[in-house]
Symmetry: C2
Subunit: 78 residues, 2 copies
């Protein structure tokens, strides 16, 4: 089954990459961009099973996200 894991910075954590992108967009002529936050996603192909989603959440907690500054969300893809 295909699963997507979204990993993003927790609210309040500074996002220098997002700030840089915002500056770049202002520079390119889009001054109305008020904020940019960056995140990552991982598309995993894992074995089917009733516990697959929980296992992927464990993978995310162990390897894909840094739980100190990032949160994650698991979404089963159709």
């Amino acid at each position: 089954m295909k699963v997507r894991v979204f990993v993003g910075l927790k609210p309040g954590v500074l996002d220098p990459a997002g700030e840089a992108v915002k500056g770049g967009l202002h520079h390119l002529g889009y001054p109305d961009v008020a904020s940019v936050r960056c995140g990552k996603f991982f598309d995993l192909d894992v074995a089917d099973g009733p516990d697959a989603e929980a296992r992927v959440a464990k993978m995310a907690d162990q390897l894909l996200a840094n739980p100190v500054i990032e949160s994650f969300r698991v979404e089963v893809l159709p």
Copy 2:
């Protein structure tokens, strides 16, 4: 309005980061992970307007994605 831009490698483009994550997950005891593809997303807060989605697509094409190896998708967040 809040808009999310998904940026991912085009099919067929090698993903060394995804391969490294897959290796890491195998190493951690998840041998059933058949593939991993990495991507990025950007959450933008832009001015409302009928052309907002089209403008964000232009931003993605100009700055957020590398059109040679990446494709993108714009999603308006609720």
